[in-house]
């Protein structure tokens, strides 16, 4: 392996430990074990396709209305107007832009749901346990900084091309901020409030669910927001392994040097990002910022309740 004579001044070029070859072994193992993974893949693929079909089955105008209502409920009237305008612009970008955006939204929603299910427990654990935090931190660093192309190939070898692989590479990239911010949120809870909860007889799980998680919610939602943003930034790379949607438009346009088509795809992604960002940021406001109203006291639900005389 070492084709050069060993030199003390340059020890690196003369020694080959075969890291790349053994990593290639992982790829071989992945190919050999594809069958095990297929049922799992089918389950997740059906989930993603189901969400995609559901989003696309709703007529665009009704979907637009729903999104405006959700934005109004979650983040107030201003954001609702912004969402309405932005999504209308997105729809008029190109005849098929709306359908592509819904497909992309389905991928992002699937990835974010899975990130939440994985990231929240990990973040809580990291927030409670210093040792776990110190173990997971380099892992998160790796996940965030390692170029996506490095794990794209092994993932495709193991799972094959398609939505599931796309969601998996998205999770690898988008999960870390949720874990980090959940941990930060749990650590940031006022220690004296936790002590008071202990003094009044709360058990550890009651402290977690009644005190720590509610108080960490704004920080955790900031993490969800970041996860959504990073998921969207992965859609073009994910489209390289045959994920449909706006990302695929950009990729195809690049191949044909079609700047106009690339712009449509790119703008679509940006608009989707703005919409999702504003809505999730609105959800993350603390109770005091909302004037201490419950969520059902404002927005369209509040209006309906007031009109029907229930509130």
């Amino acid at each position: 392996m070492a084709d050069k004579d060993f030199s003390i001044l340059d020890p690196f070029s003369s020694v080959d430990l075969g890291v790349a070859d053994s990593a290639d072994g992982v790829k071989q193992w992945a190919i050999a074990n594809r069958d095990i993974i297929q049922p799992v893949k089918r389950f997740f693929n059906e989930m993603i396709v189901g969400i995609d079909n559901a989003l696309n089955a709703v007529p665009p105008l009704i979907m637009l209305l729903l999104m405006v209502l959700i934005a109004w409920q979650a983040a107030g009237r201003r954001v609702a107007i912004l969402v309405g305008l932005a999504m209308t612009v997105l729809g008029f970008l190109a005849p098929n832009a709306w359908a592509l955006a819904m497909t992309t939204l389905a991928i992002v929603v699937s990835a974010v749901i899975l990130c939440f299910l994985i990231g929240l427990p990990l973040g809580i654990l990291a927030g409670k346990n210093d040792r776990f935090e110190s173990i997971i931190r380099p892992v998160l660093d790796t996940m965030q900084t390692i170029p996506a192309f490095v794990y794209l190939v092994p993932v495709v070898m193991l799972i094959g091309i398609g939505n599931v692989s796309g969601v998996l590479v998205t999770i690898i990239f988008a999960l870390p901020p949720l874990v980090r911010l959940t941990s930060l949120g749990i650590r940031g809870v006022n220690a004296s409030v936790v002590e008071a909860a202990r003094a009044f007889g709360a058990s550890p799980s009651q402290i977690l669910f009644k005190v720590e998680l509610p108080l960490a919610t704004p920080t955790i939602l900031a993490g969800v927001n970041q996860t959504i943003m990073l998921s969207l930034s992965m859609v073009v790379i994910a489209s390289m392994i045959s994920v449909k949607g706006l990302g695929n438009e950009v990729l195809r346009a690049m191949g044909r040097l079609d700047a106009g088509k690339a712009l449509v795809g790119g703008l679509g992604i940006v608009i989707l990002a703005i919409v999702l960002d504003r809505v999730t940021q609105g959800m993350g406001r603390s109770g005091r910022d909302r004037g201490h109203r419950h969520w059902w006291q404002g927005g369209p639900v509040g209006v309906v309740l007031r009109l029907t005389g229930k509130a």
Binding site: A196, A199, K210
Partner: protein
Amino acid sequence: MNTKPTEAVIDCRNLWKIFGKRADEAMKAVKEQGLGKIEVRDQFDCVVGVQDASFTVARGEIFCIMGLSGSGKSTLIRHVNRLIEPTSGQLFIEDEDVNTLSAKALRQVRAEKIGMVFQNMALMPHKTVLENVSFSQEVRGHSLQSRRENALRAIDAVDLNGWDQKYPDELSGGMQQRVGLARAIAADPSILLMDEPFSALDPLIRRQLQDKFMSLSAEMKKTTLFITHDLDEAIRIGDRIAIMKDGALVQVGTPEDIVTNPVDDYVADFVAGISKLDLISAGKIMEPLAKFESREGPLNGAAWPEAHPDQSLDDLVNLSVTTQHPVVVKIDGSPVGVVTKNALLRGIQGDFDATAAVTH
């Protein structure tokens, strides 16, 4: 294990708390070689929080622990509900050693037997006043209805009617601490732990809350452990006071005891600035009748104002200003002593040993 008199609700015996990684080694060294606080710090890199504290609090008594910041009083009070584990020693609550309780039993004791009020309120910002006050019942799984009833009763007791649906940050500091007090009494515990509850409030509000607390506690008769760094407050509120310094209880006694017989210079320094008017009684400063008569001849006190030995200096001042005569102290109509104007003035200064020797 159970040899103590039953009326002690809180019984703390030889409690030690040493903070640090080598606390157990340090504890052993302290017991075997009698190391002091400084030696423990230098040899084991540990901090002594509480040294050998022993005290009892009787049912219905208000026991104040007074000390400066860092004297270990907050550490000590947290041993009562075992928020902090002792390094050595025992603490009994109603004959139960809290340090042998299981986690589950401990939570029950904390929720049902002990109410605690904190210096920084420590209210939950995401819960309404009502939800905060009913927290200890919520964690015990009581029904919403009974929770609400008890909580509203406690909120009523601290005069916060109508604020139950507000959030803590919508209330002033004084009101927040009243919520803290309501939270502590909502489950009707037999013990109240008050960790400098009024220290963070301005003097006027502090006074109001002290009054509120005293009237509540006269009504509820709860066994109370009250931490403060303010001797005036301790004297006003406490049935008995313990002075704490460097983690050790220096002196335990009634307010009058502490003020009239400080055990060392440290305590004497503390009590020097305290007004004696309400604390010291006529009996303490009067010159015994025999001594007075041997000096001044037979008592001719028909026109002199009369007082009872238990009356305070404040009362004596009021009696004295109307006349030039000394005050004669009588028990059941028969004179037992005399308080001259000079003795009264010295008494107000806190100088009562000298009063017997006052000459004219």
